[in-house]
């Protein structure tokens, strides 16, 4: 090794050669450093991919699609009438009208659906969705359609394929489209776009017809609230109005993704800090080992900067390839799933926009360990050269905080003391392990709750098993079928808060036995008893400031108003808690045409299949009552994939942290281990020593992790996910035990690996220190 590398390219080459030689002398150390950098980089890049994907997804989608500032849905109305009302609004720079036709039958190969949505577009280029592949719809009458990307992916529809649309015949797919105002298939219905011009040319329908959807662009999007109020005033005559704004959609999406993103970022930062602490400690131990060599070089005239740079360069040679591989690994582990998730949300992947953040995370993954390695060399060379030649300690080897001198002198206790002698590292490692434990527990609890919501209608307070589209008069006939305990008409419609006209409310009504068919848990007050009483979801109560005894004035699609008194609030997950349950008589008095269906409650031990067959026989084919996210199964699957990838990375980081903590303990206390071996310590004794070290890290981490999940993360996520209902995000006892067992297994692996490594070193090498 050269004493004074000097400047210029020759000096740099010499420094480079020196660093390479030093690395080649201790390949195991280099490998360990590489593993740490790789894992931290992978964690960081996974967080970047998910954060950038989810966090910026809606902004990218709405920018690409040129999404309107105001989206209005209403019952079919003449396009001329609607256009006149929209033109009267202030600050409008443009609008697009279309007919949204639901329950359209479509078939492609073996796939078929009767719930597709056809978006029949009016004239104009500005439509609020993006054509992401293929080309836009031609102006003529060719039978061409655009299909949503998520749907095309799910069914394998390629551009150029023909889609069979009931009533239209074969339609050629000319491109893929994405509209960020709604989620993609199968979270939403299959959606395709065609022009009204096509229908005019092929079927001779009038050029101007009814529409039920409008997208409005404002000159100044900041004025959307004022325009919204004006739009409600101008909307007289339009029925079934539903307003949504671009900002409102974005808030919903950000809220859902926010905590997941925050957790990921926090976790990856902790992983990086832990890796930095570990690598810094390893570098310090290495500098301690090379102290005399550093002292000699200093004595020969080498500068502090050159020595520190040499140490940094050595780690950089390992960190650069490791961070590159780690960044790529994190990207590959999450990019596919993140892309699928964005596709389901009708949002584009970041594409090339991800390069810069990934480069940043890569640079951070390199810079942190390099600085961590250079710092001890820089620090130790502050003192006089003679101190270095005499082997001054880089850091004191004495315990930094008092530990009871009596008791606990066994090998396990000694292991505890060795780890506790480095409090900063102990705290960083415990924090890392605890946050990982909490994160994994939270993900398990979340998956369990999602699964339960998806499959179990009881979670929503729904007690009926079947519904049938049938008139109210059919209820008595269905109730007499074998296996049916009760059947009642169920009325449901969407109303709006009459005071502010801002909040949509789902109104559910039964003639007699509301709580028998649908009874979400009561949060406050009591069940409705009088004719004018209603119980409302906590979400609605929060939004409108309602409490038991408050007045609730709802405006129905018929234009009539319902004047109600709130009897109680319920924890309802359905309709995001924006729901009111009331007696049917009150509803029907205001709106006799309220949509109805028959809710069917089965007798104990009755078979759903048998009752369904009976209902089909009498002409009322039933539908199984669904959970909250029945159509969200693919979303749950994608989220699970992402969370699993992150959890695997997280688990690996935990294992690395434990391995590195044990390895550093052995490295720094080589003489202690050597003395024990000289006294006749067997491999089992060394393993016991390291077990003490690992238990010191794992035990508080496990306790803190479980408590953090139970008291902090679980409630926080539950509040954000469903502020309108009490969502229990507590893992089961089995889940907790499984996670703790995983932690213990990681600890056992660390003890086994480091014991082997410690025993491979000659006793004399440790004693000579």
């Amino acid at each position: 090794m050269s004493a004074t590398p000097g400047g210029g390219s020759r000096g740099r080459r010499r420094r480079f050669g020196d660093a390479l030689r030093m690395l080649a002398r201790s390949p195991r150390r280099a490998l360990f450093t590489a593993a740490g950098v790789l894992l931290a980089a992978a964690m960081l890049s996974a967080a970047v991919v998910i954060t950038d994907g989810l966090g910026g997804g809606f902004a990218r989608a709405s920018a690409r699609a040129d999404l309107g500032d105001l989206i209005i849905r209403f019952d079919p109305e003449s396009a001329r009438t609607v256009a006149a009302k929209l033109a009267a609004l202030p600050d409008v720079s443009g609008f697009a009208l279309r007919s949204e036709i639901t329950s359209v039958g479509v078939r492609f190969g073996a796939h078929r659906s009767g719930t597709a949505v056809a978006e029949v577009l009016g004239p104009g280029r500005r439509q609020g969705f993006a054509v992401v592949a293929g080309h836009r719809l031609p102006a003529g009458g060719a039978p061409d359609v655009l299909v949503e990307t998520a749907w095309a992916q799910a069914w394998g529809i390629a551009i150029g394929d023909e889609l069979d649309v009931r009533g239209l015949g074969p339609e050629r797919v000319v491109g893929y489209a994405e509209g960020p105002d709604d989620v993609g298939y199968p979270l939403g219905a299959p959606r395709f776009y065609l022009t009204r011009a096509q229908l005019v040319a092929r079927f001779g329908i009038p050029t101007v017809g009814p529409v039920n959807f409008a997208e409005v662009w404002l000159r100044d999007p900041r004025l959307v609230d004022e325009v919204l109020v004006q739009a409600r005033d101008e909307s007289y005559g339009l029925r079934g109005l539903k307003f949504s704004t671009r900002a409102g959609v974005q808030v919903l999406i950000s809220q859902a993704a926010g905590l997941v993103i925050d957790l990921l970022v926090a976790l990856s930062v902790i992983a990086l800090v832990t890796a930095a602490v570990m690598l810094g400690a390893a570098a310090r131990a290495e500098v301690q080992r090379r102290l005399r060599s550093i002292g000699i070089r200093r004595a020969l005239g080498a500068g502090r900067w050159a020595l520190a740079a040499g140490q940094g360069l050595e780690v950089a040679l390992v960190a650069v390839p490791a961070a590159t591989v780690g960044t790529l690994a994190g990207f590959l582990a999450t990019h596919g799933a993140s892309g699928r998730l964005l596709s389901l949300l009708n949002e584009p992947a970041p594409g090339a926009g991800l390069i810069l953040p990934l480069l940043g995370s890569w640079a951070l993954s390199v810079a942190v360990p390099v600085l961590g390695a250079a710092w001890p060399a820089w620090r130790v060379t502050r003192g006089p050269v003679i101190g270095l030649l005499r082997g001054t300690d880089v850091a004191t080897s004495r315990p930094r905080f008092p530990w009871p001198a009596r008791g606990g002198g066994g090998l396990t206790g000694l292991g505890v003391r060795l780890v506790a002698a480095r409090p900063a590292r102990l705290v960083a490692t415990v924090a890392m392990l605890a946050s990982s434990t909490a994160f994994i527990l939270l993900m398990i609890a979340l998956a369990g709750t999602l699964s339960s919501l998806e499959t179990d209608p009881q979670e929503l307070g729904k007690r009926y098993e079947l519904t049938a589209a049938a008139p109210a008069a059919a209820a008595a006939r269905i109730a007499r079928l074998p296996g049916v305990a009760a059947a009642e008409p169920r009325y449901e419609l969407t109303a709006v808060d009459a005071y502010e006209l801002g909040e949509l409310v789902d109104v559910v009504a039964y003639p007699r036995q509301l709580s028998r068919f649908e009874a979400p848990p009561l949060a406050a007050g009591r069940r409705p008893h009088g004719a004018d009483q209603a119980e409302v979801g906590v979400g609605l109560a929060d939004a409108l400031g309602l409490a038991p005894g408050s007045a609730l004035l709802l405006e129905l699609p018929s234009g009539r108003q319902l004047d109600l008194r709130v009897s109680g609030t319920v924890n309802s997950l359905a309709y995001e808690g924006l729901v009111a349950y009331l007696p049917a008589a009150v509803l029907l008095r205001a709106d006799p045409a309220a949509p109805e269906q028959i809710a069917v409650l089965l007798a104990p031990r009755a078979s759903t299949a048998t009752v369904s067959a009976e209902m089909r026989r009498i002409g009322f084919p039933p539908t199984l009552t669904a959970g909250a996210v029945a159509r969200g199964a693919p979303l749950v699957a994608v989220l699970t994939t992402i969370l699993r990838a992150v959890a695997v990375l997280d688990g690996l980081v935990c294992l690395y942290a434990l391995l590195q903590a044990c390895a550093l303990t052995v490295q720094e206390r080589r003489s202690t281990v050597a003395v024990l071996r000289a006294c006749g310590a067997s491999p089992g004794a060394i393993a016991r020593l390291l077990s003490g070290a690992v238990v010191t890290l794992i035990a508080p981490a496990a306790a803190l992790g479980v408590l953090a999940e139970a008291w902090l993360l679980g409630p926080a996520l539950a509040r954000l996910a469903a502020g309108y209902a009490s969502l229990d995000l507590a893992p089961t006892r089995v889940d907790v035990l499984a996670v703790l067992a995983g932690l213990a297994l990681a600890g056992a692996i660390a003890v086994w690996a480091v014991t082997r490594r410690a025993l491979a070193e000659p006793v004399l090498a440790g004693l000579a220190r």
Binding site: L414, A421, A674
Partner: protein, 227 residues
């Protein structure tokens, strides 16, 4: 009866052009109750010989038997067991564990799996015997050099071994403390003590003094010869 038996020990150190044979067929026999001092210049192989006899380093050639058990050729675990039951080490740098008190350092060998019973009782007796009771709860950095070495000697004796291997035991001590330590080593009744030193004062307590020169032990009593 010989507690330490070494025959034809050969050991080379270094590699390539730097390779050097430090022991060239060393024979040694030490009886129970005998104190043997090995002298030699720095780098002559004194410590290497001690390490070979303690099973800390394998010889290139030769055989070693400790308390009737063959050390050379034994598996690592068997060597651990021999060290635990039959050998006590005293090092020049004391090699006490920083995190443990003096008393706990003495107790360390008794806590190792397979250690003979009665370790705590012996440890307490040794602490009293070596005059360390008052400082038993202190950590190494709170002790003087002499106190540290006395704790190290107590640790070497705590499992009641037949062999004590002392590597420059007074090398880091002042004259007064060195004398105390030598006094202790000189009166280890019933044990075979092998003392490696370059100090004449240390050699003065030995029953036999051997010198390591050019890889061979010479002097009165070397090999089969006795003083």
């Amino acid at each position: 009866m010989a507690v330490i038996e070494a025959r034809g020990l050969v050991k080379a150190v270094g590699t390539g052009r730097a390779a050097r044979r430090v022991l060239s067929g060393v024979n040694l026999s030490v009886d129970a109750g005998e104190v043997v001092a090995v002298l030699g210049r720095s780098g002559s192989g004194k410590s290497t010989l001690l390490h070979l006899l303690g099973g800390l380093d394998p010889p290139d050639e030769g055989e070693i038997t400790i308390a009737g058990e063959r050390l050379t050729g034994a598996r690592a675990r068997a060597q651990d067991r021999i060290r635990l039951g039959h050998i006590g080490f005293v090092f020049q740098q004391f090699q006490l564990i920083d995190e443990l008190s003096g008393r706990e350092n003495v107790l360390v060998p008794t806590r190792l799996p397979g250690a003979p019973a009665g370790g705590v009782r012996r440890a307490e007796a040794l602490i009293d015997e070596l005059g360390l009771r008052a400082v038993a709860a202190h950590r190494p950095h709170e002790l003087s050099g002499g106190e540290q070495q006395r704790f190290a000697i107590a640790r070497a004796l705590v499992n009641d071994p037949e062999v004590i291997l002392a590597d420059e035991p007074t090398g880091s001590l002042d004259a007064a403390n060195g004398a105390t330590v030598l006094e202790l080593l000189a009166h280890m009744t019933g044990r075979a003590v092998l003392l490696v030193t370059h100090e004449p004062e240390a050699a003065a307590i030995a029953d036999r003094v051997l010198t390591l020169e050019d890889g061979e032990l010479v002097g009165a009593g070397a090999g089969a010869q006795r003083r």
